[in-house]
Structures are given as C-alpha cells and as structure tokens.
Homo-oligomer: 299 residues x 4
C-alpha cells in the first residue's frame, strides 16, 4: 500500500527500506534532502515538503511521522494535519510521551482524521530482524495500517495494545525495563571484572549465558559483539545518555504510586555517569572534613 | 563414560536422565531410596550409599555431587573423599559458595584427586534444553569430564571459566543478574498493571516483546506461560524466596568495592516480600505519629 | 499587627495561637465553625466566610492561607483574591507545589496584590518550639510580613530564600530529605532489632545517640518518645503515608537530572508499605515457579 | 583513676586529653614517639612500649586500645594480653568489627582478664563536646571503667548496650545510618543547587533548617561551617572514602535478612565516587552502541 515516511533518521530510513522491500509505495521526506535522494535511489518517491509528501498519496492516506520527540514532532504533526483530509491517518512513530499523544491526537480527531501512536523497538537491527511495534489507537485505523505493521515487524511482532497513547506508554515501560536490565548486566560484569578471579573471559561468559541459562537475552548477545570489538572495553568511557522514556517511566511510577526502585536507580546512575563531579558527593566530602577532619581532594 | 550422580533432587534427577539419554553409564544415589528406584527403572545403576556409588565405578572415577549447598554438601564431599582413590575426580555441581569450594577442594588435592566446581543454570527446563554450565578447576580434570558436560549442556553451553571456585563464582553473578532482571520486569509490569491504561493484555505484551524488542529474553517467554496460567496472577502471592547466590553477590560487591545498587535492591525487596510487617516501616510510622500527630494503623 | 488565618487544621490553629500569644490581632476562618468558636474563646476574631475574614482587616491586609494543597487551596485563593484590594498580601502557607504557586500568584500580581509562599515545618511541636519557615516572594511583601514570621518561627527560624515558589521548593526538598533520614534511621533500627544481639534497648540507644554522636538529630529524640510509648512498637503497623512533597522531590530530581537514589527509594518503600501485595513481587513469584518449579504461595 | 591509652591518633590523643582534664592518671604509648612526648608535656606519663605502658599501671589495670582496626589492633591486643595479669581489663575502642571482638576477647577471658568493646563517635569535636560511647562487655568490668566513660562522654553519653561485640555492633549501625543521612542531605542540596532556583543561599538554608525543622541535626550544623569555608564547595572534589563500618552494616543486613536499601545505596555511591570510570557504565555505553548505534565517548 501507499505510505509517507516523514523523517529519515537512523530509524525512519531503515523502516522505509523494509517497507520498500515488501512492495509498498513509499513517499519520503526529510529535513536534509540528501537522505531523500538516497532513498529515491533505492526506489522511494521523494518529496520536498511535508505537504508535498502528503499530496503524493491517494486518500485515504497513511502518514508515518518518525521525528525526534517534542517540538520537532509537534510542528511536523501540525503541518501534516493541515495537509490531510478527513479519514486520512497519521501514525506517530517517534518516541513521544504518551500524554503528548493524547493532546496531539485531538485536532486530528476534530478534523475527522485518524491518529495512531506506535512505539517502535529494535534499534539498528530492526532493518534485518524487524521492529517490535506497540500500537495505540482506534480499531478501524489499526486495521487499515495492518499491512504496514506486518511489513515493519517480525512475525507476531506488533500488537494493538490499547487506545491512543497506549502504544507509547507500553514502549516507555519497555525502555524503563531496558535501562534496568542493562544496569543489572553491567553490575554483574563489573563484579566479574573486579572480583576475585582475574582474567575471566567476559565475552565468552556473555556468550555462554546465551545457551540455556535463565538470564539468556538479546542484550547478552550484543555484549558478545561488544567484547569482540574491544575485549576490555578500554576504548569506551562509561558515559551513558538517557532518553525521555526512562525519565517518564520513573515520573509515572511516582504518579501512579508504583514502587520502581531499580528502574529509578538505573536512571539516576546514568545521570551520574555524565557528571564530572557529583554535587551530592561534594557535600559528603565536605561533611566528612568537618566532623572527622578527613582531608578532602581538591577540586 | 561412567559417572556417579550423588543426589536426585529436581536438578540431579533430570541431569541423570540427560546423561543416560546420551549413553553414559550412570550410578545414582539419593538419601530417599524411592528416587534411586525410579532412576534404576530408567536405566541407571542404583547404590545404597555414597561409598557404594563410588565403588561401582571403575577408576579414574567421576563423581557428580548435586546436593543442597552448605552442610549437606560438606558431609557428602567428606564421604566421597573417603571412598575415592588418587586421580579420581569429584564435580561439585550444587549451589556452593565459591569460597567454600576453595576450602572443600583442599583435602581432595592433598589426596591426589581432582575437584571441579560446576555452576548449573536452567531449572526445570534443563532436561529438555540442556543446562548452561560454568566450570572451575584444573584443565586436565575438565578435559576428562568433557563428555559429561557435552551431554548436560546445550551446544556451546558449557565453559571452563577459571580455577576452582570460578565456576560457582560466575554462576553466583549469573543469579545476581537474574534477580535484578526479574525485578526490572516485575516493576515494569506493575506499572502497566496499575498505570493509566486499564486492561492491558500483559501476557500478550510479554509475548510481543519477545519478537525483536531490545528486552527480548527467556524470562519474558516464561512470563507468557505464567499469564496463560493465571491472567491476573490473582492466585499468586508476592512472596519471593532467595537463595544463597543472590546474597553472596551483594556480599562480594561490598567486599570488592563494586557498586551494585540494583542487585542489592532486588535482594532487599525479596526480603521485604516475606515479612508480615517490615520493622523499619514501623519506625517510620511511629516517627510520623510523634512529629506530625499522624494516626498510626494498629498492629 | 493584623492578620487573617484561613484554615484551622492541626497547623493553622496552633499558628493562630502563637500569633495571638505575641499580641497580633488574628481573624480566623475555618470550614467547620466549631474551630472558629474555639479560637474566638482564645482571643481571636471569628469570621463566617473568607470574604468576611478579609473585610475584618484594615488595609494593607495580610491573609495567611493554611489549607490542604491542591483544589481546596486553589478555590480559597480565588475567594481571597476577589475580596482583596490592591497592595493587600496573601501568604500561601499550605503544602502547595511550587509550580502551582507560580501559577496561583499571577492573578494576584495582575490585581496589584502581593503573593508569598511559605513552607512551614515543625508539626505538632511548632506551637511550643516555633515553625521553621521558608519564604518565597518579593522583598517588600516579605518585609511587611516580618512581624508575623518573627512570631511564628523560633529565633533565626525563618528565611527569605528566593522569589515566589522558592519557599515551597525549599520546603519540598526538606521533606524529601526528611523521608530519607527517617528511612536511614528505620533501616538501622531494623538491623538492631533483628540482628545478632537480642534485647538491645533501642529507645535507650536512640537517646544515647542524641548525646554527642555524629547522627544526633531531632528525629532520634522523637524516637525516644515513641519507644517510651511502646518499647517494641508492637501496636504500630508499618503503614507509612506520603504527602505530595516527597513525590515532587523525586519528580524534580528526574526533571533536573539530579541523581537522588535514596530520596526515591524512601518514597517507593512507603508505597510498598501500604500495599497488601506488591504486584511486582507477584510477577517474580510467578517467574520462579515457571523456571524453577518453585511452589508459589497462594493469594 | 589510672588508665593506659595505646595509640595517639586523632581520636586517641584527644581522648587522653579529656581524661587528663578530669584528673585521671594517663599512661600513653604511640608508635611514633613524638606524640608521646607531646602528651607528656600535657601531663601524661609516657611509655616506650606497650608492655611498659601496662606495667606503669597498678593492678587491676585498665588499658584502652585506640588503634586502626584489623591487624594493627590484633597485634597490639596480643602484646597487651601478654603484659596483663588476671583481672586486668582491656577496652578495645577502635573501629573493630564486632565479630572480631568476639574472637579477640577469647584469650583475655581464658587468662581471667576483662574485655570491653567501645564504639566511639564524635570525631574531632569529641574533645570539646565529649564522645558518644557504646559499650559491650560484662557488667563488672563496665562498672570498673565507669569513671573513664564518664569523663570521655558528654552527660548521658555512654551506655552499656550488651555483651562483648554489642558496643561495636551498635556503633557500626550508627555509621551505616550516618552514611545514609549524609547521602540524604547531599541529594537534597544537589537538587537545590541544580534545580529551578538559581543562587539559593545553601549555607543559610542549612542554618535555617537547624531552627525547628523536622530534619534539624548536627550534620546540618556542620554543613553551615562547610559553606562558610567554601560557599560553592568549588574547592572540594566529590571523592568520598568509606570505612569498614559502612560495609559491615550492609554485610550484616544481608546476613540477617534485613532490608536496608538506602544504607546499601549510600555505600555504593561512595564506591563510585572514587572510580575514574565505573565499569558497569562502560558496559552500558557499549550495549547502547551495539543496539542503537549510539556513539560512545572514547576512553
């Protein structure tokens, strides 16, 4: 079927490729035109504006927005809305906060258009393996977009989980869990690295645990690759970014009264990983100096 | 090859079965004789004592001890030691603390025998899938036991990770990670259960995440089964046991100066899950009553 | 000076008493009139409506609002605003979220009135000891209200900390720290209660630590009183409420990228203390049953 | 009364001074003789060996050992034991692990001597304020040492809390709580430093909270001093040491099944404060690179 892909970042471009591979007619737009040209050379139809991308489709249209969450997505959705006609459908596939979806959907509904939020997981591996996709919205629109989800996801790999917002909510929780699973693995490998046995083959252990152990998971498979690249991770600094989803998961835990200590701790540890000097630790060093006369390290 | 399996609990019995299936000659002993009889009916050779089990093997012998960690294992190892001859080999496959292995190995080494510690993961699924096995000990003994490890483990599923103790150390860390991965999943599903969207299909989401998502793992596959059994987990109390490995992981983190906040928190949350009333919380309720006049709930 | 106290809850009534004791002329209003009558018998001037309370003052007026945070405060502020004249001053002394203050202040500023937010700590002991008061707002209004703050607070016990919102922000952080200090004490006393030494005199130790130790603090003094009341806290359930400030502290930590693991953990532990069965723990019990065949406790 | 002080570090020297001030006859020994000379000039009796220090006392003797915990204390105790006669008394006042006390006491008991363990808090302020002292041992020996404890501690500031080991156990828990109270304060001040309101007067707020707030405590008084010294703590690095007690508290929590998440987290945060690059964070950065193509910072 026809679909427009708005945004050709790491995710959007590969998703367009999977759609092309399955025979869909894909109109693409991106802020920097070189990526549009690249996709045109792979069989996509290029557009020079969001409006043009929409108008190159025949109604009822399906537009997939795949842009950075927040203001960029908000403005693009406004442009899309202006170009749409009633009964057209927008799928917001970026990492929007589910509460924003509930707001963003309103003018689409008022104009008689459909709004779907799709949380997409899979990273750079999605092109090959398919994208695990969590879908929120109304049944009739989800049914319409089914061929697209079928192409993007691996078998059994997409699901209509609830009304508008539910897709990104479930994806948000997915990422919260992801942070804590990564932290769990990180702490365990730290203990193996710095514990009583020297020179453990950490990459080999990551691979071993993939074979029948209780903790076998895809993250360990990736860790095997990372250790192959750099057996002591000596070229990598422990600087860990976080995206909105991890933060929103903790905010929602507090808001809904759900105890989520390891999700929160995993987020906070990332905050600290990026700070030259953690201010709370400076307070502690200052206090120890005051009561115990313990020398402080100079800043 | 010939091997004696000492202990026919949930793990030992299924391991004996996998060995029999691969054509090994398996002598079995268990404290309660009915399990010995059961295994004899499946092709094993029964023994009425540890000593008899050892003597039914031709040297150099291989004895696999698969008993509860601590004193039970310690006493069995002593009986095995007494029955062994130089160059025989014992494999301690229970959940021993790696420091105990280092102690327990000494008299075997003094007698000229081999000692291997094997950390075994896989639970009730190991019979079918194979047991992920982490092996510590000397090369020559590990080489000798190779046919046994090959039969017990899935392909690529066992590894010689280091000297005596290293096998159980790596298994210990595995379990520490397991606790925290489970806790991460638990917290995420708690938020989906009690968050803004009612009636999310949690079993379906667990299955969905198995298809191409970043968090795909075996634990989620098991959660699908759990939700099939009981869609709201309403028949299950949140009472969570812990075994030694989770505790030792935290003890070792402290001992080796490794920060392991989510491993520790996952352990502590299990402690609390088993307490009728957490005493620290009583202290808090008492304090709030004193400074704020906040009414306390009566015990 | 003249002041109206709107709201005679646990805090408001005692604050009115401290103001009367210092010779201020205090007009009081409360939703249930019996408390108004009680304060009139102690020398206050009663009012039957917020409007009447305001009008019983001579301008420029000072109105202290001391009501539950959220909608109750919002509606009362609206009534106060309607009754005020330019240059009058409202002091919001309840536990409002500092972001709400920034919103609530706007119509007052538009009408030419003053708005101060005052975070007040001290609980039931404030009547005797005085209330530690954190004040946000414009200099000229803070100067005008100085006699009131002087009467309410102990010596050196109030401070103008910043613009509108800063008072409640600093009070919010105070409460976040309070949660974690309480949790720290709770955990320590739990270990003394359930550790290796039986029958430690916990109340006596709380008192001992008040004399020259590094952890000496008012909370330990209160704990002495609690243990005098009930030496084993056996009549008290470990059910611990939380108010908005603890939650907002964690939300703000996430929002501003500040690592606050013990503040967050202290909040989450309170959540769990109030739950019959923690859902995340049910997920763990279910998983252990699936992979290890570990029996679950029935719900 | 007569007493020997073995060890004149930061704590031991000031304790000797408090004893001298109260009229006790104090024999002192230290590894480096300059400190002995200093104390002799203040009225103490110098000794050139532990044996000499013991022998300068008339029986029944009281020897206070105030040395670094671990091997130094162990060896000194052995020397003291050799020099003692039956019914003499040793007081181990260093930061020994309570389990070590239980071992160390045995040969003293066998020789008919007394053994007391005394946990001492107060830091550099103890000289002036007195040392909060937690005492473990037998009644008759504690009674004998009463004049010494009376001189060292502030009023009501020492207590016989239980048998041998209990003194250091209670002190250990004290330090565990201290870590977490410090962390709570540190996190709160971090949020005030990096939150929405710039230029908050943090030293002033620490002082304010000392006047009638729920969190008033000695640590906040010290923080006032620290901010006076350096208003932005800009000269202080967030490098925080930990001593044995904090670690033992967490080990004991695990051992006795007591949930202590904020005590543990406070310890782990100190570990991280001293690491150039936290290995677990390197694992996370590596994983994010593998699945998301997120660039890593080079080490």
């Amino acid at each position: 079927m026809q679909v427009a892909m708005i945004g050709l970042g790491r995710m959007g471009m590969n998703m367009a490729r999977r759609l092309l591979k399955d025979g869909h007619e894909v109109v693409v737009w991106n802020r920097s035109p070189d990526k549009v040209a690249a996709m045109v050379s792979e069989g996509a139809i290029g557009a020079q504006s969001i409006e043009e991308a929409v108008h190159k489709l025949t109604g009822p249209r399906v537009i997939w927005s795949m842009l950075p969450a927040g203001n960029v997505t908000k403005h693009a959705l406004k442009e899309i809305l202006d170009a749409l006609e009633p009964d057209d459908l927008v799928i917001e596939g970026g990492n929007s906060y589910w509460k924003d979806d509930q707001e963003n959907a309103k003018p689409f509904v008022e104009k008689g258009c459909g709004y779907i939020d799709a949380g997409v997981s899979g990273g750079v591996w999605g092109l090959k393996i398919g994208y695990c996709t969590m879908v929120g919205g109304k049944d009739r629109y989800v049914r319409r977009a089914k061929p697209i989800f079928d192409s993007l996801a691996p078998p059994r790999g997409w699901k209509h989980v609830g009304p508008v917002g539910a897709g990104h909510f479930v994806k948000m929780v997915h990422n919260g869990i992801e942070y804590a699973m990564m932290e769990a693995i990180g702490e365990g490998f730290d203990l193996m690295r710095n514990g009583p046995f020297e020179h453990l083959d950490l990459g080999g252990i990551a691979d071993l645990w993939g074979q029948g152990s209780v903790v076998r998971c895809w993250l360990l498979e990736l860790l095997v690759l990372a250790y192959e690249r750099d057996p002591d991770l000596s070229s990598i600094r422990g600087y860990v970014d976080d995206s909105g989803e991890g933060r929103w998961t903790v905010l929602n835990s507090v808001e809904y009264g759900v105890s989520a200590p390891v999700l929160a701790q995993s987020l906070f540890k990332r905050f600290e990983s990026r700070q030259e000097d953690v201010y709370s630790n400076k307070v502690l060093a200052a206090l120890r100096n005051e009561f115990g006369g313990h020398a402080v390290k100079k800043g």
